[in-house]
C-alpha cells in the first residue's frame, strides 16, 4: 500500500472538511453568542451559516475538481462522485431552505449541525469503494438520522419512530457487516475492484451468494425497499418534517448510488440474469425479487392510507422498486437514468414534504381531510403540490415521467435485442398506473372537496412560497427539457 501525506489527504477531502467546519461554526455561534436571542433569530442565523458552509463546499468542488483513487479505494474521487457530492449538498441546502422557521425544537443549532453531519457522511459514502469506509459512512449517516428522527421531544410518536428506525437499522447493519466480512474472507480485500477480480469464476461460491443476500438486506434497508421497509411509514409519519424530507430525498440518492457501486463494481462477473426464460443465479435476480416486492407492496398498500405522510412513505417504497430496475440493468445508460430519476424524485418528494409541513402547521394533522379545500385556502402551495404529486405519478411533461421513460427504456435496452426484462417493465408501468389512483385521491381533497366551514386562507411566509415555487419550476423544467440535467451527468 502506498503511503500518503496527511496534508494531501486533507486537501482531497476539503469539501467534507468545509461542511464539518460549518457544522462546528453553527454550534459554537449559537451556544456562545445567541443564548439570549429569540428562537426566530437563532434559527435564521444557524440556517444561513449552514447554507454558507454547504455553498462554500460546492464552490470548492467546482473550483478545484480532484481526481484520486487512494488508500485501497478508500477515497475515490472522479467527476461522477464529485457531481453526486454537489447534488447531495444542493439537496441539503434546499431542505434547510424549505424548512427555515420550523419551530418544533429549541435546539436549532444541534439540529442543523446533525443535518450537516449527515450530509458529510453521504459525501463520503459516494466517494468511496472500500467496504470499511462504506460501512463507517453508512453508520455515521444512520446515527445522525436516528437522532434527527427523535428530535421532536414533545412528540411520543417521534421517539417511537426513532426507536423503530434504530432497531431495524441496527439489525440491518449487522447483516451488512456480516456480508462484508464474508466478502472479505472470500476475496482477502476490502476494495470493491479487487473483490470483483477475485470472485470471478464459472460457478458462484455458496458463501458468495450468502454475502450477496446479506448485503441486499443491509442496503435494502437504507433504500427502503420491501421487505426491509417496515421502519419507513412510521419514520415518515412521525419524524419532524425536515428530517423526514432529508431521509426521503438526499439519503435515498446516496443510498442508491452506493447500492449501485457495491453491486455493479463489487460483484462484477456475478451478475446472473433475470431475463424471461433465461434465469441465471447472481445478484441480478436478488435485486429483481426485491424490486418486484417493493413495486407491488408499495403501490397496493399506499391505496389504503389516510395519512399523507404514510402515503408518501409507501410511494417511496414503490419508487425504490422502480429505481432498482436501474440497478439490475447495470449499463452505463441505466446508471445515468438511475441518477436522473433519483435526483428528480428527491426534489419532488422534498417539495411535497414542504407542502405537508405547511398544512400540518395550520391544521395540526396530515390526514387527507386536513387537506380538504387547500386550493381555496392556499392556491400557490396547492399548485406546487399538484405538480409534485403528478410528477410522482409519472404524468408528462413533469420530471417524473421522463425519469420513468428513461429508466424503463434503458432497462429494456440492457439485454441487447431480446427484451428479456420486458416482464419487469410491464409490471412497473402497470403499477404506476395503480399509483395514479392514490395521488389523485390526495389531489381530490385539495382541489375538489370544499374546505371545512370557517376555514380561512392560510398565511404563508414568502420565503417558503418562493422556495416551493422554485422546486416546482425545477420539476417542470427538468421534465420539459431533461437535457439540462442529462447533459451535466
Amino acid at each position: 500500500m502506498t503511503t500518503i501525506n496527511y496534508l494531501d489527504l486533507l486537501h482531497l477531502v476539503l469539501p467534507e472538511v468545509i461542511v464539518i467546519l460549518g457544522a462546528l461554526c453553527v454550534l459554537s455561534v449559537d451556544l456562545i453568542f445567541l443564548r439570549a436571542s429569540t428562537m426566530r433569530f437563532r434559527g435564521s442565523v444557524g440556517a444561513i451559516l449552514s447554507l454558507a458552509g454547504c455553498a462554500a463546499s460546492v464552490v470548492w468542488i467546482l473550483h478545484a475538481p480532484q481526481s484520486a483513487n487512494i488508500l485501497d479505494g478508500m477515497l475515490v474521487l472522479n467527476p461522477l462522485a464529485q457531481r453526486m457530492q454537489i447534488v447531495l449538498l444542493f439537496l441539503t441546502m434546499l431542505t434547510i431552505l424549505t424548512f427555515i422557521g420550523s419551530t418544533f425544537t429549541q435546539h436549532v443549532s444541534e439540529y442543523l449541525a446533525l443535518i450537516l453531519l449527515a450530509t458529510v457522511s453521504m459525501m463520503f459514502l459516494v466517494s468511496t469503494q472500500n467496504l470499511l469506509l462504506i460501512f463507517l459512512s453508512l453508520e455515521l449517516l444512520s446515527l445522525s438520522l436516528y437522532i434527527l428522527t427523535a428530535f421532536n421531544k414533545h412528540s411520543a410518536r417521534s421517539a417511537e419512530a426513532a426507536l423503530k428506525y434504530f432497531i431495524f437499522g441496527g439489525i440491518s447493519a449487522a447483516f451488512l457487516l456480516f456480508g462484508f466480512s464474508l466478502l472479505y474472507g472470500l476475496s482477502n480485500s476490502a476494495n470493491l475492484m479487487r473483490i470483483a477480480n477475485s470472485i470471478h469464476g464459472p460457478l458462484l461460491d455458496p458463501l458468495l451468494i450468502v454475502a450477496m443476500v446479506m448485503m441486499m438486506v443491509g442496503l435494502g434497508f437504507k433504500v427502503a425497499a420491501a421487505p426491509f421497509h417496515f421502519w419507513a411509514p412510521d419514520v415518515y409519519q412521525a419524524a419532524p418534517a425536515p428530517s423526514a424530507a432529508l431521509i426521503a430525498s438526499s439519503s435515498k440518492v446516496a443510498a442508491f448510488f452506493i447500492l449501485y457501486q457495491v453491486m455493479v463494481i463489487g460483484f462484477a462477473g456475478a451478475e446472473g440474469s433475470s431475463s424471461w426464460h433465461s434465469y441465471a443465479s447472481g445478484w441480478v435476480p436478488v435485486v429483481a425479487i426485491v424490486a418486484v416486492l417493493s413495486m407491488v407492496l408499495g403501490n397496493l398498500v399506499a391505496i389504503l392510507q389516510t395519512s399523507v405522510r404514510r402515503l408518501l412513505a409507501y410511494s417511496a417504497i414503490a419508487h425504490a422498486g422502480y429505481m432498482l430496475l436501474g440497478i439490475l440493468s447495470h449499463t452505463q445508460q441505466s446508471l445515468v437514468a438511475l441518477i436522473y430519476y433519483a435526483i428528480t424524485y428527491a426534489l419532488t418528494v422534498l417539495g411535497a414534504f414542504g407542502v405537508v409541513a405547511l398544512v400540518e402547521n395550520e391544521t395540526g394533522g396530515d390526514t387527507l381531510s386536513d387537506f380538504a379545500g387547500l386550493s381555496r385556502r392556499a392556491p400557490v402551495p396547492s399548485l406546487c403540490m399538484l405538480i409534485f404529486l403528478l410528477s410522482l405519478a409519472g404524468i408528462p411533461p413533469l420530471a417524473g415521467f421522463f425519469g420513468k421513460f428513461y429508466l424503463f427504456s434503458s432497462a429494456l435496452t440492457s439485454t441487447s435485442g431480446t427484451l428479456g426484462l420486458l416482464w419487469l417493465v410491464v409490471l412497473a408501468i402497470a403499477m404506476s398506473a395503480v399509483s395514479l389512483y392514490y395521488y389523485l385521491k390526495v389531489l381530490k381533497y385539495i382541489y375538489v372537496v370544499d374546505p371545512s366551514a370557517g376555514a380561512t386562507s392560510i398565511r404563508i411566509p414568502v420565503l417558503r412560497q418562493v422556495v416551493l415555487c422554485l422546486i416546482a419550476i425545477g420539476v417542470v423544467l427538468l421534465g420539459c427539457d431533461p437535457n439540462l440535467l442529462l447533459h451535466w451527468l
Binding site: 399548485l383 411533461p397 424503463f408 429494456l412 427484451l419 417493465v425 398506473a433 382541489y447 431533461p482
Partner: protein, 503 residues
C-alpha cells in the same frame, strides 16, 4: 404556424390563472378569445393545405442523447381533427357561459385539455404524442370531479384510471418498439418504415390498439364513457365525446396501425372462428355498435341515451378502420369528425338547454313538461341533431356511415347486415328520446305548477348554429374534407398498411 394552436391554448390557461378570483366575465371572454384564435390558426392552415400532404410545422432536437425530437407536423387527417377540435372548443365555451362556480379554474382546465388535444393531433414524434395524450387526462378528471353532476367523483376517477391504464399499455408498446428498432428515434415516419419482426407485431399491435381503443370506447372497455359523459359538465361532455374519444381512434389509426401493420395479418390458425386480430377487433366494434344502440334504447336518463349512442357511433369508426379499405378508412376519419360535431350538439341540448333549466334528466319526468312548447329552440335543435345522428342524407353522419358500410360490405358482408340493424335501432332510440323529452303528453297540473323556464340565451343559439352548420356543410359537400383525407391516407406513412392488406 399550426403549432400556435397548442401554445395559444396553454398560454390562455396560464393567463386565466393569473386573473383575479372574482373576474368571471373576463375569464369567459378570455377563454372564448383563446379558442377562437386557435380555430383561426387552424383555419388558415386548412386553407393553405392544398392536397393533404404532410407539412412539417416545427422540428427541433429535444433529448438528443435518446434521439427524441420535438416534431410537429400535419397531414389531412390531422387537419380534419384540428378543425373539429376548434369547432367543438368554441361551442363548448359558448355552452358553458353560465358557469359561475370557480369560473377561472374551469376555463383554465378546459384550455389545458384543448391544448393537449391539439398537441396529440399535431405530434409526429411518438414520445411527444404520448406526452400530449397524457396531458389531456388530468384536466378531464378535475373538470368532472369539480363541476360535474351525478356521481361525479366516482365517474371522474373511473375515467382517469381507464385512460391511464390505456396509456400505460400504449407506453409499453412504444418503449418496446423504440428498443426493438434500436435506431434511437421516436419519429413516427421512420419507425413506421422499420420492419418489426412479425411475432413482435402480433403482440404489440393488440396491446397498443386496445390501449388507444379504451379511449375510443372499444367494447368491452367502454364503460367509462357513459358514466363519464353523464357526470361531466356540459362543456366537458362535449369535449369528451366530441374530441377526447377521437384521440383514441386517432391513436389506433396513426400509431397502432401504421407501426404494426403486420399485426393485422392472419395468425395462420383459427380460434373460435377468428383468424386474425382484425377479425377480433372488427367483431368488438360491431358489438359496440349494436350493444350501444340497444342499451341506449332502454335508458331512463336522457344523458345516458346520448352516452351510449356515442359508444355506438364510435363503433363505426373502429369498424371502418378494420376494413383496411380505402373507402372504409375515409369513412372512419369522416365519422370521427361527424360524430365529434353531433355528439357535442346532442350533449349541449341535453346538458345545457334541458338539464340546466329543468334540473332533471329523467325521461319520464321530462315527458310531463312539454318542453317543445316552453323551449322550442331546444326541441328544433334536438330534432336536427337527431336526424343527423340517425344518418339522414344531407348531414355529415350519412356520408361517413355510408362509406364505412360500403367498406364493411366488401370485407365482412355478414357484419354489414348487423351494422344495418344497429342503424335501425339508432333511429329507434333517437325517436324515443325525442318523443319522451320534447313531445310528451302534457300533464296540465304539473305544467301550471312549474314556473316558466328561462329562455335560450344568445351564446347557446350561436353554439348550436355553429355545430349544425358544420354538420350540414360537410354533409352537403363532403369533398371539402375528403380532398385532404384521401391523399393523406396514401402518404408513405401508410404504405406498409396497404401492402399488408393486399396480401
Amino acid at each position: 404556424m399550426l403549432a400556435w394552436t397548442i401554445y395559444i391554448s396553454f398560454l390562455g390557461a396560464l393567463v386565466l390563472l393569473l386573473l383575479p378570483q372574482s373576474s368571471m366575465r373576463a375569464a369567459r371572454i378570455l377563454a372564448l378569445l383563446t379558442v377562437v384564435a386557435g380555430f383561426a390558426v387552424t383555419l388558415v392552415g386548412f386553407v393553405q393545405q392544398r392536397s393533404g400532404e404532410l407539412v412539417t410545422v416545427a422540428r427541433a432536437a429535444w433529448v438528443p442523447s435518446l434521439g427524441i425530437e420535438y416534431h410537429l407536423a400535419a397531414d389531412g387527417i390531422s387537419l380534419t381533427l384540428l378543425l373539429l377540435t376548434g369547432i367543438v372548443a368554441i361551442s363548448g365555451v359558448l355552452f358553458s357561459w353560465n358557469i359561475e362556480h370557480r369560473t377561472r379554474e374551469f376555463f383554465a382546465f378546459y384550455l389545458t385539455l384543448i391544448g393537449g388535444v391539439y398537441g396529440v393531433f399535431l405530434s409526429f414524434d411518438l414520445l411527444l404524442l404520448f406526452v400530449f395524450y397524457e396531458i389531456a387526462i388530468i384536466p378531464k378528471y378535475f373538470l368532472i370531479a369539480i363541476w360535474g353532476s351525478t356521481r361525479r367523483e366516482y365517474a371522474a376517477m373511473k375515467l382517469a384510471l381507464y385512460s391511464f391504464v390505456g396509456s400505460a399499455m400504449v407506453l409499453i408498446g412504444l418503449i418496446a418498439a423504440y428498443v426493438v428498432a434500436g435506431a434511437r428515434t421516436m419519429d413516427l415516419v421512420q419507425l413506421a418504415q422499420f420492419p418489426f419482426p412479425v411475432h413482435f407485431q402480433m403482440w404489440a399491435f393488440p396491446l397498443v390498439f386496445v390501449g388507444f381503443g379504451i379511449l375510443a370506447g372499444l367494447w368491452p372497455f367502454h364503460t367509462w364513457a357513459p358514466t363519464g359523459h353523464v357526470a361531466a359538465p356540459t362543456a366537458a361532455s362535449m369535449l369528451l365525446a366530441g374530441v377526447v374519444m377521437k384521440l383514441g381512434a386517432y391513436g389506433c389509426l396513426r400509431v397502432a396501425m401504421t407501426l404494426f401493420p403486420r399485426g393485422l395479418d392472419a395468425w395462420g390458425f383459427h380460434v373460435l372462428g377468428f383468424g386474425s386480430w382484425r377479425d377480433v377487433f372488427a367483431l368488438l366494434a360491431l358489438i359496440g355498435i349494436v350493444y350501444g344502440a340497444m342499451v341506449a334504447l332502454v335508458q331512463k336518463d336522457f344523458k345516458f341515451v346520448i352516452g351510449y349512442a356515442s359508444v355506438s357511433h364510435m363503433g363505426f369508426v373502429l369498424l371502418g378502420l378494420m376494413t383496411l379499405q380505402q373507402i372504409g378508412l375515409d369513412g372512419a376519419v369522416l365519422q370521427m369528425f361527424s360524430h365529434g360535431i353531433l355528439a357535442g350538439l346532442l350533449f349541449a341540448v341535453v346538458g345545457r338547454m334541458v338539464y340546466d333549466r329543468t334540473h332533471t334528466r329523467d325521461l319520464s319526468e321530462l315527458e310531463t313538461m312539454h318542453l317543445s312548447k316552453s323551449i322550442p329552440f331546444a326541441a328544433v335543435t334536438f330534432v336536427l341533431a337527431g336526424m343527423a345522428s340517425m344518418g339522414l342524407p344531407g348531414f355529415s353522419g350519412f356520408v361517413a356511415e355510408l362509406q364505412v358500410l360500403i367498406g364493411v360490405w366488401r370485407e365482412f358482408p355478414l357484419f354489414a347486415v348487423a351494422t344495418g340493424v344497429g342503424i335501425v335501432i339508432g333511429v329507434a332510440y333517437i325517436w324515443r328520446a325525442m318523443q319522451k323529452a320534447f313531445f310528451g303528453a302534457p300533464d296540465r297540473g304539473a305544467l301550471t305548477a312549474t314556473p316558466p323556464l328561462p329562455a335560450i340565451t344568445l351564446p347557446e343559439r350561436i353554439g348550436a348554429i355553429i355545430l349544425i352548420g358544420s354538420s350540414v356543410i360537410v354533409g352537403l359537400y363532403p369533398q371539402l374534407l375528403l380532398r385532404i383525407i384521401v391523399p393523406a391516407l396514401h402518404l408513405p406513412l401508410f404504405d406498409s398498411l396497404w401492402k399488408g392488406s393486399r396480401q
